[in-house]
Symmetry: D2
Subunit: 138 residues, 4 copies
Amino acid sequence: MSSLVRFGVSLEKGLLEKFDRLIKERNYTNRSEAFRDLIRQEFVKKEWREGEDVAGAITLIYDHHRKDLLSKITDIQHNFQNIIISTQHIHLDHDNCLELIAVRGNPIEVQKLADTLRSIKGVKHGTLSMSSTGKEIS
Amino acid sequence: MSSLVRFGVSLEKGLLEKFDRLIKERNYTNRSEAFRDLIRQEFVKKEWREGEDVAGAITLIYDHHRKDLLSKITDIQHNFQNIIISTQHIHLDHDNCLELIAVRGNPIEVQKLADTLRSIKGVKHGTLSMSSTGKEIS
Amino acid sequence: MSSLVRFGVSLEKGLLEKFDRLIKERNYTNRSEAFRDLIRQEFVKKEWREGEDVAGAITLIYDHHRKDLLSKITDIQHNFQNIIISTQHIHLDHDNCLELIAVRGNPIEVQKLADTLRSIKGVKHGTLSMSSTGKEIS
Amino acid sequence: MSSLVRFGVSLEKGLLEKFDRLIKERNYTNRSEAFRDLIRQEFVKKEWREGEDVAGAITLIYDHHRKDLLSKITDIQHNFQNIIISTQHIHLDHDNCLELIAVRGNPIEVQKLADTLRSIKGVKHGTLSMSSTGKEIS
């Protein structure tokens, strides 16, 4: 963990009062912690546009009764095994599954994996959570 | 304009150095100005979710040769005249027009106007820019 | 305008019924029109990632009483005049202005202009609406 | 699985050709599958705005060396155990962890959990993936 630096910030009184209410509402312990979060959000967006090594999660919703669906999803994951860390499978009801795939690697490849999984016949919905390896935002 | 309040913020050394580079890249004059922007972005999102009085812009792209299109767009704008401030019309080429509609009012009504305009046959694309009246973020 | 092609689409009965309700709610005249919109949204996103010539709008909220603010905003707009088509200025109240700038050109330059304007001291909020020249989505 | 309904859609020739290329690029098996996806995306957005029962994933990046951090994250997860299905923990490097939390329940509560976890001192980044239980989009 890197050392802390303290510096002054000037804000309009009214804006600061509103910000303090927002901080309380969202349970931040103090202003510095809230600023840190706002800054890190900007950097994570930047990592996904310009970076080489990102982390995140792909979610898939699908009906596991669909013929060949499970084997297709598994095949593709094997083709991308260099960027998949692990997969978590949840049975939402008799038909629907939620799959959470932890991913790490080049942002373009991760995006490609998400697009490929999402486009499989029988996959009802897919999302890609863009997060970070944490190294560049500490 | 409300008075300025100065207070201290603590950030990890590495994160602050990266933030300073970002500030420079985006031409902010100083850290306070960059923080102000990050805060205001949060508040504008909140105004659109919970507020009563927002401002913004609707953009439309359409082919003005489409029969009855111009009169439909104008009719709808008249029905929503209480939330439309003014409209700017740009000829992109022989066929395509860009229309910028400055809007202000209740966020649900503004969203409804944007949806209604976007769904007209012949409108190729529509966006809604969610901004603010400025009153709550100064 | 290019000629129409008709083709068949298969959808789950339940999903189609829900889609028909959505279409009604958003005032689309028919399913084809709604599909057209969904497709064009995808293409406009693609144009901004990969294209050369896009159109859109920048919105700014600022307090015109701020010293030198108007001249700074105008100076910058002149430096980017090759991508600015026109500007619309609205007085929201005694202090706050809404400025709508119609833009067209290379997506990276348009983004740069938006970032530069947004970072000026005194500009309270800025948005960039990503639309299209219409040529590639007809 | 509900029965399939087939119906006709009309699209501009140029737009359809571009759409076919996009479909190929993203590996969809046919147009119907691509349309299904576009429609479902709209419905999932709607579920999160208006629905009662959604599913998704929260991602967290944090440094597990931070004092008390692990116990705080665990405490909060216990307070929200009615909406948490399971949690997956990945060691990204010596310091950084990626945690994937599968969630299901009321969208407002899920959002509140995400905000609460994200605001803990030491959590570097958090995302909320908005997906679906799959029931309403089949």
